[in-house]
C-alpha cells in the first residue's frame, strides 16, 4: 500500500496503471467506514500478490484529485487500468463482495 498526494498521482497511479491495475482508496481520517475498508484492501493486496497495486489518497489533503474523480462519498475505491477508471465502488463493503469485485475486474 502506498500513500500518495495530488502531485504523485500522475506518476504513481496513471503511469503505473499502464503496467498493472491500480486500486485507489479515497479516504479521510475522520471517516469511520474507511477504517474498515482500508485494512481489508491491504490484506487483499498481499493475497493477490502482483495482481494489483493499492494506493491511498487522503481527500482532505488532496482536493485536486478528489475533484477530478468527483468523489462525493468515502470510502470510495476506484480501479484504474491504462489511465482510465474501469470499476469503482463506495462504502465499506464486505470482504466477499470486494473479493468478487476484484476478481471480476482484474
Amino acid at each position: 500500500m502506498i500513500e500518495i498526494t495530488d502531485k504523485e498521482f500522475r506518476e504513481k497511479v496513471l503511469k503505473k496503471s499502464l503496467k498493472i491495475p491500480v486500486v485507489v482508496d479515497f479516504y479521510a481520517n475522520w471517516c469511520g467506514p474507511c477504517k474498515i475498508i482500508s485494512p481489508l484492501l491491504e490484506r487483499l493486496e498481499k493475497e493477490y500478490k502482483n495482481g494489483f497495486v493499492l494506493v491511498r489518497i487522503n481527500i482532505d489533503e488532496n482536493e485536486e484529485t478528489t475533484k477530478t474523480y468527483e468523489i462525493k462519498s468515502i470510502p470510495s475505491v476506484k480501479m484504474i487500468k491504462e489511465g482510465k477508471v474501469v470499476a469503482e465502488f463506495a462504502g465499506a463493503l464486505g470482504e466477499e463482495v470486494v473479493r468478487e469485485w476484484l476478481d471480476r475486474n482484474l
Partner: protein, 152 residues
C-alpha cells in the same frame, strides 16, 4: 426475580424525573442487593409492580387480566428484550465511537451537501452537543421549578 434488575434501571431513571417512582427504585435496589447475595427478595417487588401495572390497565379489563395472569412470562419477555436492546445499543455506541457510524459495515461518509455535517466523525460532535443540551435543559428545568433531588 429477574424483573428487579430491569426495574432497578428503569425506576432509577424514572425516579430522577418523578418522586413517585423512588420507593419502587429503592425496593428494586434492595431486591438486586439481596439477589447478588443469593438471598430471597423479601420486598415483594413483583407483587407491587404487578398490582400497580394491573391497576393502570384496568381501563381495558381483558388486557389487565391477561397481564395479571401471565405476569411472569411477560416479565421475562421484557427482561430479554431489555438486555437485547442494551447489547444492541452498546454495540451501536461502540461502532459510533470507533468507526464513527452505528452501522459501519454499509456506511459511507458524504462529503458534499449538508449530509457532511451529520456523517461519520461529525455525528459524534452532534451527539455530544445533543447530550450536553439535554443535560442543560434538565438542569435548568429543575432549577426553574425549584425541584431538589434528595438522595436519602
Amino acid at each position: 426475580m429477574v424483573i428487579c434488575i430491569v426495574a432497578l434501571i428503569v425506576f432509577s431513571f424514572l425516579s430522577i424525573l418523578s418522586a413517585r417512582y423512588r420507593p419502587l427504585a429503592k425496593d428494586a435496589f434492595k431486591c438486586v442487593f439481596l439477589m447478588i447475595q443469593f438471598k430471597p427478595c423479601d420486598v415483594r417487588l413483583e407483587e407491587k409492580i404487578k398490582s400497580k401495572v394491573t391497576s393502570k390497565l384496568m381501563r381495558m379489563p381483558k388486557l389487565a387480566r391477561l397481564f395479571y395472569r401471565h405476569f411472569r412470562p411477560i416479565s421475562w419477555i421484557f427482561t430479554i428484550a431489555f438486555f437485547a436492546s442494551l447489547i444492541y445499543s452498546a454495540y451501536g455506541i461502540y461502532n459510533l465511537l470507533v468507526f464513527g457510524s452505528c452501522d459501519p459495515s454499509s456506511a459511507t461518509c458524504e462529503i458534499t451537501s449538508l449530509l457532511y455535517l451529520i456523517s461519520c466523525y461529525e455525528i459524534e460532535t452532534v451527539s455530544i452537543i445533543a447530550i450536553i443540551s439535554i443535560i442543560l435543559f434538565i438542569y435548568f428545568y429543575f432549577k426553574k421549578k425549584n425541584i431538589k433531588i434528595v438522595i436519602k
